[in-house]
């Protein structure tokens, strides 16, 4: 059935968006940790 494509697309899109957001969180977190470390050293 052709419309099954849409079902998988929807579920995939959901998780792609979630993973994308979580990746930005992780990146911001490591950047902040680095900044804090630099400030502590000074």
């Amino acid at each position: 059935m052709n419309s099954i494509k849409y079902l998988y697309a929807a579920y995939a899109a959901t998780w792609i968006i979630h993973v994308f957001y979580l990746t930005t969180l992780v990146r911001r977190y490591s950047r902040l940790r680095q900044q804090l470390k630099d400030l502590g050293k000074k």
Binding site: M1, S3, L7, Y21, L22, L36, G40
Partner: protein, 247 residues
Amino acid sequence: MKRLFPILSVITAVLLAYALNQALAIVQIPGVAPTERTMGDVQRIFYYHVPSAWTAFLLFMVNLVASVVYLIRRNPKADAVAVVCAEVGVVFCTIVLVTGPIWARPVWGIWWTWDVRLTTTLVLWLIYVSYLVLRRFSDSAQTPVLAAVLAIFGALDVPLVYFSIWFFRTQHPQPVIGGGGSLDPRMWHVLLINWLAFCCFAFLVCWSRYRLEMLQREVEEAHALESLVGAGAVSAKASMPLNRSPR
């Protein structure tokens, strides 16, 4: 408290996997959602589309409460909760607006329809994106107050939006995405289990984002303190950026 996060993560992962299975009927265990009569298997998008919408609305409501609490008490933690819920809410709202058209296309042959729920979701998304833009573009001293006020305006707006589109639709009917009518009890069960799973997931994401927000504020304070020390306004000993009592 520290161990709670990993434990909750595992529980959430299991819940999500179970809910996913019930929605897609990958493994035929009792309670999986049956195939819908008119729309077929595509209808299963419903089990991700609707819980995402409910989660987004829930997060926006928490944002509203946190904003009001902030305006009354000026507690910075309330402001942190507000920004966290707004951001994660926008993520879930985006998912609703993406899965909606993906569902509509095979079922109705159109990508979009100005039906009440989808349009209200779009307006909510616009309001909260403007909220996040405001937060990014304003100076950090005033941001919490301005953002909280905007959240209140948004909350006042949403019922008016819903009402106006509802009336418009009674005059110009169009297909409704998300399905109307009663639901098979097995479908209800799968819907609710997916909602529970996504609520747990949203909670974990919010928790992580909250920790990030607190870290960000710590860094900002450390920066500010450092520039004060540099200017000679505060003695170096008095400024210990990593050794502050928790707020």
